[in-house]
């Protein structure tokens, strides 16, 4: 702070806080007094030592970062990364005030359920003129195939809606979310973080817990399945890491305790929905879906691009699997229904609608269109049949010519548009950059349905925008989020998501089934962790040599390292600015930049990216520690090489940190994964890659003229992590034969080539036997042959072999290595990972040709 005065404490600032004129304030009433819930909060804040929010805010953002809480999942595109932001100041509601919201949300869920059922069933709403038929028949979300799906097996289990409070303090619904409501995981995650950062305040304020909601959800899912002998098999269906809210899917899967799967993991066999695992196909009783309607069943949903699970709807029709939420839900999420909900509520439920939608007009109705056209400036225009959150047009910000063309657009197809009034959302104090400021809030509320009916969560997700004005309806819109605190009049009972102790289950020594896709990802994670380790060590060696040798000193010993790295496309030769042989002077300046800036899968940064993506894929199998380590590294990676100084020293420092993380990740994986197929595939990947990396390095050493030079041998040993072992055996006596023996044929050295083959053979023994093979598995055959060839480089009884013949035989083995690794990988993929293969569409029938 330049002013020199220390920033005032949050408590002092809150005492002075006033909301802006023209909006309802959650903190102070219109006459300026502080609302009761906030008084409780301020007292609690004062009494605890948490009144300095600064430290707590740092803790909170660190926790969010370490949990990988973000929006874009695996961050496929550069710069698309958006960490989740949480403001420590919650939004507080009194119990009775909240009760009204809750009842309204629950009624709204009942209404959406009844309305959707009616429209896919007897359509009395249309027949009696409550809702105009175009509203339904024109909707691209009205999928006729869903009309034949039985209700009981396609329930509305989770409902959400987006709420805002207008300037009079009345709640209004901005959007319904009944397909697969987003934001739930962010709400729970916010509470988890707040419980850490403001634990005493939370406790003193007597705030209702979120856990009962999750317990209700678990119970509801179990109820929906009905009794099953071995317990229900429930899965969470995700669109995968490409979905921007993948974080939510992972979080929910972990929090609720169900496996997270993708459409490719499921298949329909014998009229049952099955999960593809290494052990075979396992029946699924309930799918909690996080996917769009268009990604459900390529055989039935006309608009799909062949994604989904062929036959899924038939399985539901045959009452063999429950899909929650059912495919029909999502129809009512478009804004076109809003003007008709009060009448529909009266008609279907016989009740007054408690929570009204934001004022909405459908241009397809003559009267409503007239109103819209004459009040354009007060309204927001939206496409009628797009789920809320799509295009929004603000006529008030348009020129008169633009308005004319908008009116023409509406006239051309009035039914395609709705108009809504802008709501000035209520404000609540926010703690931003050490200052308390008002922010406009939107609240997402959630409901779960069990046999007794709908139950709204005692909390929710608040998104904040500091300026008044439009805010998108998506979970990722707004500047940051807040936790929602609902005050309790009575002491708060602890609730746990852990199941109650039941009968002791029979003991097991193996884990439950491993998904074929997970096995695939673990295999590649093993390979990439090893690859990163090896490549980083080589980069480090080159960098050290360049850094520590005086500038006029040539460094011929790094030549094979450079060749090996170039061969693997770790760096872009053009960035290095050298063709053919590398000389000291050439690379001196360009080396750090070349490493930092090279693109490609196997580049320095590409490797990290790949590992990060793979880690996301297998996140549900990894320990929290592993996850924390990789997120910290990922956060660091965002700034790698972006400092103005990018010299050899900076590079060395960076590589050292990365190698450290890599070791720690490998350690976490090895410690965390119990013995079983998951660990097996990871290790297979690791040893296969280590053999491959050795192959590259040794091949280029043998191709190099300076093979016998002591310095080269030392560099080689160091790059292979075997210098200490060599020294303890041979002291300072460096010669090619013992060096190569240690790295190729010495079965006692865990870094030797032959050692990798021995390990692989042992692992292969433990793999599930591939079907229809009685004799040696083909991958085993390949590795066994390689081991025999490697062992025979050194005649068994005769250790006194001449270097030239050793060298020749080694070169032959090395030449075979890369193709063998590739073939082994292909075989494993075919036998274990692809398992039942990928479905593809066939031609539809020929077109008619009658005349």
């Amino acid at each position: 702070m330049k002013t020199g005065t220390p920033p005032r404490s949050p408590l002092d600032q809150l005492a002075d806080y006033r909301g802006p004129a023209g909006s309802f304030d959650e903190f102070r009433t219109a006459d300026g007094s502080i609302r009761p819930g906030w008084t409780r909060f301020l007292n609690a804040l004062e009494q605890t030592r948490e009144h300095d929010l600064r430290d707590n805010a740092q803790l909170a953002s660190r926790l969010l970062r370490e949990n990988g809480t973000n929006i874009t999942g695996s961050e496929q595109e550069d710069g698309d990364y958006r960490p989740w932001e949480l403001d420590l100041l919650p939004v507080l509601f009194e119990a009775d005030e909240w009760g009204a919201v809750q009842a309204g949300v629950e009624q709204r869920a009942r209404l959406v359920e009844a309305l959707t059922r009616d429209l896919y069933g007897s359509q009395t709403l249309l027949k009696n003129g409550i809702i105009p038929p175009d509203v339904v028949f024109r909707s691209p979300h009205f999928e006729r195939a869903f009309a034949t799906v039985p209700e009981k097996f396609a329930p509305l289990m989770l409902y959400g809606c987006e709420l805002a409070r207008d300037s009079n303090g009345a709640w209004q619904v901005l959007a319904d979310r009944s397909s697969s409501p987003g934001g739930l995981a962010y709400a729970v995650q916010n509470r988890v973080v707040i419980s850490n950062a403001l634990s005493r305040v939370l406790h003193r304020c007597r705030i209702k817990r979120l856990a009962p909601f999750s317990v209700q959800l678990q119970e509801a899912l179990k109820q929906a399945v009905g009794r099953r002998k071995n317990g229900p098999s429930i899965v969470i269906l995700s669109e995968g890491p490409s979905n921007q809210f993948y974080f939510e899917d992972i979080f929910l899967a972990r929090y609720l305790g169900y496996p997270l799967i993708e459409a490719g993991d499921l298949t329909v066999r014998r009229n049952r929905l099955c999960l593809k695992t290494l052990e075979g196909l396992i029946k699924v009783d309930l799918v909690l879906r996080r996917t769009a309607d268009a990604r459900l069943d390529p055989l039935e949903v006309s608009s799909t691009n062949q994604q989904g699970i062929a036959g899924l709807l038939q399985v539901i029709r045959n009452c063999r699997t429950v899909l929650a939420n059912g495919p029909a839900f999502g129809l009512a999420d478009t804004p076109v229904f809003m003007p008709f909900l009060p009448a529909a509520c009266q008609y279907l439920l016989g009740e007054e609608l408690q929570l009204h939608s934001i004022d909405s007009w459908w241009c397809g109705a003559e009267e409503q269109r007239k109103f819209v056209c004459s009040h354009l400036d007060e309204l927001v225009i939206k496409p009628a049949f797009v789920h809320s959150g799509g295009e929004e047009i603000y006529p008030a910000q348009m020129s008169s010519a633009e308005k004319e063309s908008l009116l023409a657009r509406i006239e051309a197809d009035p039914a395609a548009f709705v108009a809504q009034r802008h709501v000035t959302r209520s404000t609540s104090p926010c703690w931003v950059n050490n200052q308390v400021r008002p922010g406009h809030i939107a609240l997402r509320s959630f409901c779960v349905r069990n046999e007794q009916g709908f139950h709204a969560m005692d909390g929710g997700l608040v998104r904040v925008q500091t300026a008044d004005g439009p805010m998108q309806l998506s979970v990722d819109a707004g500047e940051f989020s807040k936790d929602v605190w609902v005050c309790s009049d009575t002491p708060v009972e602890p609730v746990s998501l852990l199941p109650k102790m039941q009968q002791t289950p029979s003991l097991r020594r193996t884990n439950l089934e491993l998904l074929s896709r997970s096995a695939d990802n673990l295999f590649w994670l093993g390979r990439y962790l090893e690859r990163q380790d090896a490549i980083c060590r080589q980069i480090r060696k080159v960098t050290e040599r360049l850094l520590y040798e005086s500038a006029d000193q040539p460094v011929p010993d790094v030549q094979p390292l450079l060749m090996s790295l170039a061969d693997q496309q770790v760096f872009d030769k053009e960035l290095l600015g050298v063709e053919g042989e590398f000389s000291r002077g050439d690379i001196e300046k360009t080396w750090p930049e070349c490493i930092f800036d090279s693109q490609g899968v196997d580049s320095y940064r590409g490797l990290h990216q790949k590992i990060y993506e793979l880690a996301w894929q297998v996140r549900d199998r990894m320990s929290a520690d592993f996850w924390r380590a990789i997120n910290i590294e990922h956060h660091r990676e965002l700034f790698v090489g972006s400092t103005p100084e990018r010299g050899l020293g900076e590079l060395l420092d960076d590589v050292n940190q990365r190698i450290g993380t890599c070791c720690s990740l490998t350690g976490q994986v090895m410690d965390g994964l119990v013995h079983g197929p998951a660990r097996l595939f990871l290790l297979v990947g690791r040893y296969l890659e280590r053999a491959r990396q050795l192959g590259f390095l040794l091949k280029h050493y043998l191709a190099h003229d300076n093979e016998a030079e002591v310095l080269s041998l030392v560099t080689l040993l160091e790059s292979c992590n075997s210098l200490m072992t060599y020294r303890s055996r041979y002291r300072g006596n460096f010669a090619p034969l013992p060096v190569f023996d240690l790295l190729v044929t010495d079965a006692a050295n865990p870094r030797a080539l032959v050692f990798q083959f021995v390990q692989l053979e042992e692992l292969f023994q433990q793999l599930p036997q591939p079907p229809r093979t009685a004799q040696t598995a083909p991958y085993m055959h390949i590795i066994r042959q390689l081991r025999h060839r490697t062992e025979s480089i050194l005649p068994r009884a005769d250790h006194a072999v001449a270097w030239p013949s050793y060298r020749g035989r080694t070169a032959k083995v090395l030449a075979e290595l890369e193709p063998a690794v590739k073939e082994t990988t292909d075989l494993l993929t075919k036998i274990f990972f692809a398992h039942v293969g990928v479905t593809r569409p066939i031609d539809s029938s020929l077109r008619g040709r009658s005349l």
Binding site: Q123, L126, K127, N128, G129, P132, P133, D134, F137, R138, R144, A145, A147, T148, T267, V268, R269, R270, N271, P298, L299, E300, S302, S303, Q306, A310, G311, Q314, R317, N318, A365, E366, D413, V836, G837, V838, T839, R840, P841, I842, D843, S844, S845, L846, R847, G848, R849, S850, L851
Partner: protein, 294 residues
């Protein structure tokens, strides 16, 4: 009139298919004037699982899965259909076409049939809203208060003059606007185009898939398997009910059009859809026999 229909669909793959699943809309539905005396759907190899249902529009849909795999798949649909000859009133005495129009709000106290008719006046996945040129085109036949059958008759004969049957001109994805501007296509294209034209006047019109009786050249035997599946349009003519018109053959359907199914357009009633696990390359062949039994 009685017909015996046999419809073979054959898929041949280059390599083994380990798994397959299909959804078929191949068996004629019951409807006023059309009785199904017998229907049978068989496959080779035999299906591992199968199921049937009536879709949203009441069409019969069949499901199969093949879990033991195959190299070739045959789907054979056979049916015996009794068609009543439809007689139409004199064209000039049919009601004015405007009486069949459904515009704006259709009111309250509606029946399922009312809703269905209304639905068939709206755009659908393959029948987008017509452009002004198309509007002009149909208005030439639909002058104010013209008797509807006369207007349809006139439209059909103009259509027949202006459009040329040409299987090379379009593919399954060609949009209606292209078909209309190039005036070439096959029966599906013509049916979709006619639907767009009729719907822009708010006339309820639906897409029909089925078969048509064919006649061999004079003096020749009918060739086995030479028939084909066909598509045309059914338009709701007010008090006259649904009347089927065939733009490809410039005629009103009488007792030579056998209906399999109807929907908003082709996408609602695709004859065979499927997914497989196996090679991508395959060939598809279809043969149809429509045998009239006097």
């Amino acid at each position: 009139m009685k017909y015996r229909i046999s419809h073979h669909t054959r898929y041949a793959f280059d390599e083994h298919v380990s798994f397959g699943m299909n959804r078929a809309c191949l068996l004629p539905r019951e409807m006023p004037g059309q009785t199904c005396l017998a229907t049978r759907l068989t496959t080779r190899p035999e299906a591992s699982t199968s199921g049937q249902l009536q879709d949203y529009y009441g069409n019969r849909i069949d499901y199969f899965s093949f879990e033991r795999g195959y190299r070739h798949l045959e789907i054979h649909s056979e049916s015996e259909i009794l068609l009543q000859k439809k007689s139409l009133p004199a064209f000039e005495s049919s009601p004015a076409w405007e009486t069949a129009q459904l515009t704006g709000h259709v009111g309250s106290d509606l029946s399922t049939e009312d809703l269905l008719r209304f639905e068939m006046t709206l755009a659908s996945p393959r029948v987008e809203s017509a452009c002004s040129v198309m509007h002009d085109y149909i208005q030439q036949s639909f002058s104010p208060a013209r008797p509807i059958l006369e207007a349809l008759h006139d439209l059909l004969s103009r259509f027949d003059n202006d459009f040329e049957f040409d299987p090379t001109a379009t593919n399954v994805h060609t949009p209606v606007s292209d078909v209309f501007s190039q005036k070439k296509g096959v029966c599906q294209d013509f049916a979709h185009t006619l639907l767009a034209l009729l719907r822009c006047l708010h006339l309820p019109a639906r897409y029909v898939s089925g078969y048509i009786r064919s006649y061999p050249p004079p003096g020749q035997e009918r060739l086995r398997g030479a028939d084909a599946s066909h598509a045309w349009v059914s338009v709701h003519c007010g008090d006259l009910g649904w009347i089927d018109i065939d733009p490809t053959n410039n005629c009103f359907a009488s007792d030579e059009h056998i209906t399999i199914a109807w929907g908003r357009d082709y996408t609602d009633i695709i004859p065979v859809q499927g997914v497989i696990i196996g090679p991508s390359a395959h060939t598809l062949s279809v043969s149809v026999d429509v045998d009239p039994e006097e």
